[in-house]
Symmetry: C2
Subunit: 360 residues, 2 copies
């Protein structure tokens, strides 16, 4: 069933829209007092992410507060490797860690793609519960980390600033890394398809760390496996197209390759010129992005002018031949936890109102 | 006086060379036991960087150990704001900090470009002493942080992972940031010219953080001020050209703009395809880069093949019209402190020998 407001889905499929739809990466998060209150009740971040009831509650908070055009499943990016048995935990103030990182041939041989209906049931349950809570107001986006991004955490055992362990594996034992990525690609495809089955109306692949790779390595170790994922995705559910979005942070030099994965939309960060990106791949894909999240620390008039600059850089919603180009407004990365929430309201209003003026 | 081995200078000026010259960003550093021993004797990092004798000693260490084609002045990237009176210090295990960051209108009004002959005398003394120690073996590269990169540290008061303070200033009070950048551009130009006067035979501007800016903001807040610096640089000393290199980490989308600064060479990180970069700007500039520093953790044969891949991506040293293109081999970022030094020897040999085969 189509949501009452399906502007996001139409933009992703390059169909006519009355205005540019907007949602924000990490829109349910620490910048909202409501979120922090729920998290406190949940006891821990994983307690929050693994409870369908709490996940639904926080997914709905930004939808209730701002006129956003999409909800995105609240979940952790590392649910899949956690379901593989690697033992996800959060050390206080340190970010995610794995008890059993994947480093040796034996570690790799043990890896299998989890059954999303079993180990990841809490996620598909959350999708179903969020769909009920949304009651058709806006579409729900499901998501997963990319095969390479998941592998970064799996091999490093947590975050990294130089990716020394995974890159050492990549250069010294590419066969091992490819074996991990094959498992991850199957796991991510299964996981996203399970989210689609459960009710996700669009899906997004977050390739947070692909941009740390060298040209050549990116294509072989990140892009190739995202292509495998996209090729396996269910394209329709209940007769409705389920669009897919691929986002490589720092991937502005590789937009053609990303468009060639077969995705419906390409996410871009703020280093990308949207007009140039549209000229490169706008005939094949919609674009999603790309305001610098730090622009939300500016005064209201600057937030409005920065939002207009992003919309104007993309340009008129129709191409010269009269067909529609697709643009979904977003930040170029997750919203900062320090963002004043009232500035999000200003941004959403600015995107809606300025983009309407581009259609007159 | 030309150095005995002036291959680097010829490559930067797109003149004929017998092989591709190579040096490594941060080649004098913690991966070398010799460096760690000198640092221990110096007592602290700043004690090392501010002593011309110690700076000379560590600058020479990689030159004595590996057949590199250039030396680079050992110094800290924050000497200039330190000389402005901001109080540089290093908190144990935390990276550089400033006692008096620049955040208010009054802070900005107090800023002036330091006199490189006074507050930065220890740097020009080091340049002179290193030139004597080199005795013409290879050229000496001087360097500075870019105006924007220096401003990041000055405003944030240290490193940052989101640049919230400087970006808030940029969006909310662009006039203040422009005022800082005007002072920094003059300071950097004066500083590099003092290094040239003292004997630096090439200079490099490190724009480590320009890649954190949005398209549009990069051009206005980083590139424009590097252009001012390059325009003020002395182009000759004692009848010899002094080439300049501009490197924006993460700047692969903006290579045309960087080439337009008037620099002789553009540094690129490993996300850039060197062949594509050459097609874009190779008729105006030499290129410097761009092996992933993590490739130095691979076995010897992989280091050799990765080096060959970078050289092959750049392509034949001559253009179709017979003129010479310029390539200086380097990493795409500083060498890791964990690098096995023997792998540097393998890399330098691989670059020299493979690039000779491209000339036969």
């Amino acid at each position: 069933m189509k949501p009452h407001n399906d502007t996001l889905l139409r933009a992703l499929l390059r169909q006519p829209t009355e205005y540019t739809p907007v949602w924000l990466m990490r829109q349910a998060g620490r910048y909202m007092a409501e979120y922090n209150a729920t998290r406190k009740r949940a006891g821990s971040f994983l307690g929050l992410a693994k409870s369908p009831a709490f996940a639904t509650e926080v997914t709905m908070q930004p939808i209730d507060r701002f006129p956003l055009d999409a909800a995105i499943l609240f979940s952790d990016i590392l649910t899949v490797p956690d379901a593989m048995g690697l033992g996800l935990y959060f050390a206080e103030g340190e970010g995610p860690k794995f008890e059993r990182p994947v480093r040796t041939e034996a570690d790799v041989a043990r890896l299998t793609a989890p059954d999303p209906g079993a180990e990841l049931r809490y996620v598909t349950d959350a999708v179903r519960e969020i769909r009920r809570a949304l009651a058709g107001r806006v579409p729900l986006i499901g998501f997963s980390g990319s095969p390479f991004t998941l592998a970064c955490y799996m091999v490093e055992g947590g975050g990294s600033d130089d990716f020394r362990l995974i890159k050492t594996m990549m250069y010294a034992r590419p066969d091992l890394l490819h074996a991990i990525l094959r498992v991850n690609a199957k796991a991510v495809a299964d996981y996203l398809n399970a989210q689609i089955e459960a009710g996700a109306q669009a899906v997004m692949i977050f390739d947070t760390w692909g941009g740390a790779l060298a040209d050549g390595a990116y294509q072989a170790f990140s892009l190739a496996y995202m292509r495998q994922v996209v090729a396996q995705l269910k394209r329709e559910r209940d007769g409705e197209r389920v669009p897919s979005i691929v986002f490589t942070k720092g991937g502005g030099l590789w937009l053609e390759g990303i468009a060639d994965t077969g995705c419906d939309a390409v996410g871009v960060d703020w280093t990308v010129n949207l007009g140039r990106a549209r000229a490169q791949i706008g005939n094949r894909c919609a674009l999603q992005g790309n305001l610098d999240p730090m622009a939300l620390f500016a005064p209201a008039d600057v937030i409005r002018s920065q939002a207009a600059q992003v919309l104007d850089a993309f340009g008129p919603p129709r191409n010269a031949d009269g067909t529609w180009a697709g643009h979904v407004f977003n930040l170029g990365h997750g919203i900062s936890q320090f963002t004043p929430p009232e500035n999000v309201a200003i941004l959403v209003d600015a995107v809606h109102s300025h983009s309407r003026t581009l259609r007159t």
